[in-house]
Amino acid sequence: MPVEVILPKVDMDMTVGTIAAWHAADGDRVEKDAPLFDIETDKAAMEVESPASGFLHHICAEIGAEVTIGTPVAWIYAEGETVGEAPLVFVKRPVFEEVPRDRDEPAAQREDAPTLTDKTRATPAARRLAASEGLDIAEVAGCGPRGRVQAADVERMLKGPEPDRSWQSARGPLNVLYSGGGDGLPIVMIHGFGADGGGWKALEEALPPGHPLFKIELSAHGRSPLSRIDGFRDLAAAVREAFDALQLDCVHLIGHSLGGALALALSATRARKIDGLTLIAPAGLGPEINGDALFGLARATKVESLRPWMQQLVADPGVITERFAKAAMQSRRDANLRAAQHHMAEALFPDGVQAFDMTVALKELDCPARIVWGRRDRMIPWRHALQAPGTVALHLLEDVGHLPHLERPELLAGLMRDLR
């Protein structure tokens, strides 16, 4: 029996396909799995492989012919098999065509019908509470099943972001969250622009235990005061003052992005107190920065506008789920905070350019240091890392974006396992 060659269904809503090309002619020898013909649908062009080895006969769909899926278009005969008349073709009409076309479309497909996707899943109690507080339910990140917004989510948003219970705030010009005893080397962390102390969570959990952790929150970020920052020097001074207030003798410093530049600035003035340095995609090593994303993030007032820019921060956009974006938007609810950050962005990155240069501080570093950078960083080019002198270790990570501490916390913590 010859083997039927049928027109396959290659995408979900395909009903017919057009033969675009034959790679073999009637009577040719064909090999199983070798390309046999091409089809075009209204969406795509596809190569179809031969279902068997043998000789091709009875091609019944010419190039350009529109063929219903499942219909035989040719037959393949085994070597030595007698080639007779083309077999009869019984085409079973696809089921979907039996549905009368003039039927009413389901409500969900009508244009005026509200679609479920633009509806927020929220409990009546959450809606009532949000409405009474003048809050848009769509802005609330739902922690219930399938992302459902429950009353507690609205309450949490109304209360504002809450620091982890084990974290306390230290006195000083900036908010510093610290946690944990242990006699390991204290670690001081400085986050990047638009983030806050909460952004370190994944890395914290991966770091070896026993190190007291100090998270400095930048001006107009997290719970730090909304002070006006007119330039990098202002911000570096505030960080220095906050660091001094901690009265630590010897620390390991981690800085991300803008925090990396600030860590370099701190190393320059407090060299004796810095035992080592981990710079994650640090700013200040070249003029280029993704200004669109930077100002887009600073301006965003809605989850819909924030999320696409957040997705620029990571290699895999799937990491930035809607829930994650909603949570980030929650911490940016305060219009004054957004305005202060926007002002800061204009001062630090005028015209989308890094207006401060830390390459000298990097070259003069007097302590062991490493730079960790994702090769798919779309905010700051990873090649800025090449400014580093040979004494600085470079870890240039494949398939990682601008947030290695979020995208690969275990890997990053692994690099730091030699901490005293």
């Binding site: 009546p124 959450a126 099943p145 009353a151």
Partner: protein, 335 residues
């Protein structure tokens, strides 16, 4: 004064019912007990006990084995001035007396323009758990809750068993009392003398913040047991004993849901088309809807006749562990 005498007196549920009937028989000559084997034998579940010895066979009357006939006698007696208490051996046998209950007792007052009423009390040993299998273990109360003209109560404690039976006797219309068989031997405080537990009024058995459990009959006891375990796990459950399913106490349920935002209905009858659906709809149709912070959850009996195998019999109705699991998921926002 003797302090010991003031201590709370406890009776079993069956004893409390007997005491109510004793009080009524003693106080009102119109009260008669009618049923199968309620005389010398003392009732299928020994609820009437020795009342026949005290009041005689004219007041405590054994009937032939015909539920339809007996119920007809009781309806007629009620219409003509007596205050009969009719005992069914098993609530399942109400099916044999449907005509008298649904078409006569429930309708007569309406069809005779209020000229006649049927002050009939019917008692039904109900529910599963005794290994009595499919024809002797059902919970059919919701069937009758669907009939205007009937009142349906499900006491969950000895105190309410007595109070609701006395209240039923005061009521001018037919009242059906569903007594869960596993409750008969449970003990609890029961006040002395005559008192009435209002028909149509639920009882808040336990206050809580996190969720409302509305339960009926023996499920009240299971829910209270579950609530104690839940309290140890940080879930503060409020437990409402519905007590009456017709007329239902809407406001007590709604007020609780407005407070907790979460509702779990627990009942032994088959889950589908049951009392849980009624309570759920009642909340959904009310202003309390806006306070719901999770989908409503119903725990009811399995969609099958009650099995004879004791393990399957237990599995066919909600147990304490099921209530704990359901309430925990609900309170922690996992539903």
């Amino acid at each position: 004064m003797n302090v010991q005498a003031d201590a709370v007196r406890t009776l079993s549920y069956a004893e409390a019912l007997r005491e109510a009937m004793d009080i009524a028989l003693g106080a009102d000559q119109r009260v008669v007990l009618i049923g199968e084997d309620i005389g010398i034998y003392g009732g299928a579940f020994q609820v009437t006990g020795d009342l026949v010895e005290k009041y005689g066979e004219d007041r405590v009357m054994d009937m032939p084995i015909s539920e339809l006939g007996g119920a007809g006698v009781a309806v007629g007696a009620a219409m003509t001035g007596l205050r009969p208490i009719f005992e069914f051996q098993f609530s399942d046998f109400a099916t044999l007396a449907m005509e008298q209950i649904v078409n006569q007792a429930a309708k007569v007052r309406y069809m005779l323009g209020g000229a006649v009423s049927v002050p009939l009390v019917m008692r039904f040993p109900a529910g599963s758990g005794t290994g009595a299998a499919a024809q002797h273990s059902q919970s059919l109360e919701a069937w009758f809750g669907h009939v205007p003209g009937l009142k349906v109560v499900q006491p969950a404690t000895p105190e309410d068993a007595k109070g609701l039976l006395l209240a039923a006797l005061e009521d001018p219309d037919p009242v059906m009392i569903f007594e869960h068989k596993l409750l008969y031997k449970t003990r609890g405080p029961v006040p002395e003398g005559a008192y009435l537990t209002p028909i149509g009024k639920a009882s808040l058995r336990r206050e809580g913040r996190d969720l409302t459990i509305v339960a009926t009959a023996i499920m009240v006891q299971k829910a209270l047991e579950a609530a104690e375990v839940l309290a140890g796990e940080g879930v503060d459950a409020e437990v409402i004993d519905l007590r009456t399913i017709r007329p239902i106490d809407r406001e007590t349920v709604l007020e609780s849901v407005r407070k907790t935002g979460r509702l779990l209905c627990v009942y032994e009858a088959v889950k589908t088309l049951g009392i849980g659906a009624e309570i759920s709809a009642m909340v959904a149709e009310s202003d309390a809807f806006d306070f719901l912070d999770a989908p409503i959850v119903r725990l009811g009996g399995a969609e099958c006749p009650i099995p004879y195998n004791p393990d399957l019999e237990r599995a066919a109705v909600p147990q304490v562990a099921d209530i704990i699991a359901g309430a925990t998921d609900l309170a922690q926002g996992r539903t």
